[in-house]
C-alpha cells in the first residue's frame, strides 16, 4: 500500500519507462511469433469456419451451416465418442501409472532412478513414426509377436487376431500405444515433484505416528497437486489431439472404429479440401478442451 504512495521523480519515471520499453523489446520477438503463429491462425480458424472454404475458389460465407452440418454428421459423432473414450481411458491410467512408477523409483538409489527415468522417457524422445512402426509390426496379423505369443507360445488363441483390423480391438490397441508414449513425461515430473516434497513435514508426520500411506496422501499428495494438475491438462490435450497413431496405423478404420476428431479434421481439411468444415470441427474441439481444462483447473484449485 505504501508503495503506491511513493512519488517518483522525473528521472526515476524516465528510468522506469526505459525499463518497460526494454522489457517489451525483449518480449517483441516472442510476441511476433505468438501473434503470427498462434493468435492469427486461431482467428483464421474461427473466421474460416463460417465459410465454405476450399482450394481454387473464393470462400463463400455460409454462417453457421458448417456447424449445423457437423452436428448432423454421423462420422463426427463417432469420432467424438472415440476421442472421449481415448481421453477417459488414457488420462486416468497415465496419471495413476506415472504416479505409481514415480513413487516406486524415487525410493531407489539415484542411479536406478535415473535409469528407469531414461527407460520410460525413451518412447517420448524416439520419433513417433518409428515407435508406431514397431507397434504395427508387433500387432501384425500374420507374423506379429502378439499373435505368435498368444497362438504358438501360450496357446490362448485359436487363430491369429487382426488387432488393428478388427473394430473390437483396434481402438484398444491405439490406446495402449498412446499410453506407452504418454507416461514418460509425467513420470519425470512426478519424480521431481516427489523430490521437492518438504521432507521435514514427512519426518514430523512419521514421528507423530503417521503410516507411510497417511504420509503420502496427507503430506506428499497435496504438495504434488500443481504437478498433477499440469499432467492432467497436458495429458488430456495430448489425448484429444491423438493423430499420428491413427494416420500411420488405421486411417480411422476399420469401420471408423478408430476415427478421432483430430484425424477427421485432417481428413476433411487436407484430403477433401473442406477447410471451413474442418475448421468448424477444430473450433468445437478447442471449446471442448478449454471446458475440460477449466474444470480440471477449478477442481485442482479447490483441492
Amino acid at each position: 500500500m505504501a508503495k503506491n504512495n511513493v512519488q517518483y521523480s522525473k528521472k526515476q519515471r524516465r528510468l522506469v519507462m526505459q525499463e518497460n520499453i526494454a522489457a517489451y523489446l525483449f518480449l517483441l520477438p516472442f510476441l511476433v511469433f505468438f501473434v503470427g503463429f498462434v493468435l492469427y491462425p486461431m482467428f483464421m480458424c474461427i473466421y474460416t469456419s463460417f465459410f465454405d472454404a476450399t482450394m481454387g475458389r473464393e470462400d463463400i460465407f455460409v454462417g453457421f451451416e458448417n456447424y449445423k452440418a457437423l452436428f448432423q454428421d454421423e462420422v463426427f459423432w463417432i469420432a467424438l465418442k472415440n476421442t472421449m473414450v481415448i481421453v477417459l481411458v488414457s488420462v486416468p491410467i497415465t496419471c495413476i501409472f506415472s504416479l505409481w512408477v514415480a513413487s516406486a523409483i524415487s525410493k531407489m538409489p539415484v542411479a536406478a532412478t535415473s535409469a528407469f527415468r531414461c527407460i520410460f522417457y525413451l518412447p517420448v524422445v524416439t520419433g513417433s513414426v518409428a515407435v508406431t512402426m514397431v507397434w504395427k509390426w508387433m500387432f501384425n496379423n500374420y507374423y506379429g509377436i502378439f499373435n505368435y505369443l498368444g497362438k504358438d507360445v501360450l496357446g490362448i488363441l485359436d487363430k491369429p487376431i487382426n488387432w488393428l483390423g478388427d473394430p473390437k480391438y483396434a481402438l484398444g490397441c491405439i490406446i495402449l500405444i498412446l499410453l506407452t508414449t504418454s507416461v514418460g513425461q509425467p513420470i519425470v515430473l512426478y519424480v521431481s515433484a516427489l523430490d521437492n516434497v518438504d521432507k521435514s513435514l514427512v519426518e514430523a508426520a512419521e514421528v507423530d505416528g503417521a503410516t507411510p500411506k497417511q504420509a503420502f496422501w496427507k503430506i506428499k499428495w497435496p504438495q504434488m497437486m500443481p504437478t498433477t494438475l499440469y499432467i492432467l491438462v497436458i495429458t488430456t490435450i495430448n489425448s484429444f489431439q491423438c493423430f499420428a497413431l491413427i494416420q500411420l496405423l488405421t486411417s480411422g478404420g476399420p469401420k471408423n472404429s478408430t476415427m478421432t476428431i483430430m484425424y477427421y479434421i485432417y481428413y476433411n481439411a487436407f484430403k477433401l479440401y473442406k477447410y471451413g468444415y474442418g475448421n468448424a470441427m477444430g473450433v468445437i474441439l478447442a471449446i471442448i478442451i478449454a471446458i475440460l481444462s477449466a474444470i480440471q483447473f477449478k477442481a485442482g484449485q479447490e483441492k
Binding site: M55, G56, R57, F139, N141, Y142, Y143, N162, W163, L164, G165, D166, P167, A170, T250, S251, G253, P254, K255, N256, Y267, F270, K271, L272, Y273
Partner: protein, 444 residues
C-alpha cells in the same frame, strides 16, 4: 557516449525510412511502366535464352526412380548442360504426405513450378481447380492421342505432359501355383486366366495345398486401391465409372455378385488393417501367394527379396481383361511468373522431345513409354514380359470428378463389406451408399 549512440540510432532510423520510401516508390510505379519493363527483357530473352538465370522447383512423387537422388541428379545434369541458366530445385514426395505438402504449398502461394504425377491429381484435382498451366503448346500434335486425351481436362486444356504409363496388374507366386497344380487354370504365354471360374479354381487349389492366405482384399486405407477395384470389376464384368467420367457406377448387381463370390472364396481374405504396400510386402516375403497391386516397378524394387518366380497376370475376366492404367508426367503450376512457366516448359520439352533424353527419363520411371522409342529398356529382362499387359489397359476413369472422396468411399465400403454377412444384398447396399457419397462429391 549516449549522445553518439542516440545519433547513430537516429541515423539508422532515417536510413531505414529512406529505404522504405524507395521500395514504396518502386512498388507504386505505374502499371504501364512495369509492363513495359517486363516486356523488354522478355524480348531480349527470346533472342538470347541463356541470358536470364531462372530458378524453378520440381516436385516428384515416387514414380520409379524419380525420387532416387542419384538418378534425378544425372537427369538434371543433362538438362543443365543444355540450359545452364535454369536451376532446378528438386523435392521428393511420397504418397503418404505428398498431397498434404503440395496442398499446403498451394495455400501458402508457394506451389512448385513443376510437379510429376498422374492425371488424377494434375487434371481431376489441381487442374479442375484452375491451378495448372495449359501445356497444349508443347504437346506434339497427332502423337499418342489416346494418352493425351487422359491428360486433357473437360475444357480441352492439357494439364499434363505424359512421360510414362503402366497397366497395373496382379501377380502370383508361380512356384506355389505350380506345386499346387494351379498353373493349368491360366495361360503363361498371354499372362491371362482361362476364365473367372478357373481363377477361383486356382485359388481353391492353392488353399487346399495348405496356404490360408492366397489373396487378400486389403482395405486399411486408400493406398493401392487400383488393385481391388480392378479385381472386383474384372471378376464381375462391371464398371467403376461411366464412359463420360461424370459419375460412379460400381454399385451394380454384377459387381456385388462378384464381390460376394470373392467374399465366400476360401483363401481370399479381407484385411482392414493393411494397404497395398503391406500386401506387396506380404507377397514378397511369401505370406500371400497373390498380389493384387503389382507392376514392373514392384518386381524391380523387390528383386533382392523375392525368393520365388513371380508371374505377372492380368485380372481374371470372362471377356478381355481391363487393367487399371497409370499415366505419369509433368504438370506446371500457374504461379503467375511468366519466366518460370517458360523455364518449366523448357525443362519438360527437354525431357520429352529428344529420343535419347526421353529414353533416360522413361527408364528412370521403370514404366513404359507413352510413345514408341527405339532401344528403350534394351537390357531390361522384365520389360518384354510386362509390356504384354500394356494393351489391356482400360478406361482411365481416375479423372472422374470427386475422385478423392470416391477413393475413400471405396476402401471404407470394403471394410463394411468385410463386417457384413457377405450376401449380395448387403454388399449392394454398402456399394450403393459409397457410390452415392462419391457421386455427391462428383456433383459438387
Amino acid at each position: 557516449m549516449k549522445k553518439i549512440i542516440a545519433l547513430l540510432l537516429a541515423l539508422v532510423m532515417v536510413v531505414g525510412l529512406c529505404a522504405c520510401s524507395v521500395s514504396k516508390t518502386e512498388e507504386t510505379k505505374p502499371a504501364e511502366t512495369k509492363a513495359a519493363e517486363t516486356n523488354a527483357p522478355a524480348e531480349t530473352q527470346a533472342a538470347a535464352p541463356e541470358a536470364a538465370p531462372v530458378e524453378i522447383s520440381l516436385w516428384t512423387y515416387p514414380i520409379g526412380k524419380w525420387t532416387d537422388e542419384a538418378t534425378v541428379s544425372a537427369l538434371l545434369a543433362d538438362f543443365n548442360a543444355a540450359y545452364p541458366n535454369i536451376t532446378v530445385k528438386v523435392e521428393y514426395l511420397d504418397y503418404t504426405n505428398g498431397d498434404d505438402k503440395v496442398n499446403t504449398a498451394i495455400e501458402g502461394g508457394q506451389a512448385p513450378d513443376i510437379v510429376m504425377e498422374g492425371p488424377e491429381r494434375l487434371i481431376a484435382n489441381w487442374g479442375a481447380k484452375g491451378l495448372m498451366v495449359d501445356l497444349k503448346d508443347i504437346v506434339p500434335a497427332g502423337t499418342y492421342d489416346s494418352i493425351i486425351s487422359s491428360c486433357t481436362s473437360a475444357n480441352g486444356e492439357v494439364y499434363e505432359m505424359p512421360v510414362c504409363m503402366i497397366a497395373h496388374c496382379m501377380a502370383i507366386n508361380r512356384d506355389v501355383f505350380e506345386a499346387a497344380g494351379a498353373l493349368q487354370y491360366l495361360n503363361e504365354e498371354t499372362h491371362t486366366w482361362n476364365s473367372v471360374d478357373d481363377f477361383f479354381k486356382a485359388v481353391q487349389a492353392v488353399y487346399d495345398a495348405g496356404y490360408d492366405y492366397v489373396g487378400t482384399i486389403y482395405c486399411g486405407g486408400q493406398g493401392g486401391d487400383q488393385g481391388t477395384r480392378a479385381l472386383i470389376t474384372n471378376v464381375s464384368g462391371g464398371t467403376y465409372a461411366n464412359a463420360e467420367h461424370t459419375e460412379y457406377t460400381y454399385a451394380s448387381q454384377e459387381n456385388a455378385e462378384g464381390l460376394a463370390r470373392l467374399y465366400a472364396q476360401d483363401g481370399i481374405n479381407f484385411d482392414t488393417a493393411i494397404v497395398a504396400s503391406d500386401e506387396i510386402q506380404n507377397f514378397v516375403n511369401g505370406t500371400f501367394q497373390m498380389a493384387f497391386c503389382w507392376n514392373i516397378s514392384q518386381e524391380v524394387n523387390n528383386a533382392d527379396a523375392l525368393g520365388f518366380d513371380v508371374l505377372p497376370m492380368a485380372f481374371p475376366s470372362d471377356t478381355t481383361p481391363s487393367l487399371q492404367g497409370g499415366i505419369w508426367g509433368f504438370g506446371v503450376f500457374n504461379n503467375g511468373d511468366a519466366a518460370k512457366i517458360e523455364a518449366a516448359k523448357t525443362f519438360i520439352k527437354f525431357m520429352t522431345e529428344d529420343d535419347a533424353q526421353y529414353t533416360k527419363a522413361v527408364e528412370a520411371t521403370t514404366f513404359a513409354p507413352v510413345r514408341d522409342v527405339d532401344g528403350i529398356y534394351a537390357t531390361n529382362e522384365l520389360f518384354p514380359e510386362y509390356s504384354l499387359l500394356s494393351p489391356l489397359m482400360g478406361d482411365y476413369y481416375q479423372i472422374t470428378k470427386g475422385w478423392t472422396q470416391a477413393r475413400t468411399e471405396w476402401w471404407n465400403m470394403l471394410q463394411r463389406v468385410d463386417a457384413s454377412d457377405g450376401s449380395v444384398e448387403a454388399i449392394l447396399a454398402e456399394m450403393t451408399a459409397a457410390q452415392d457419397a462419391a457421386n455427391a462429391a462428383a456433383a459438387e
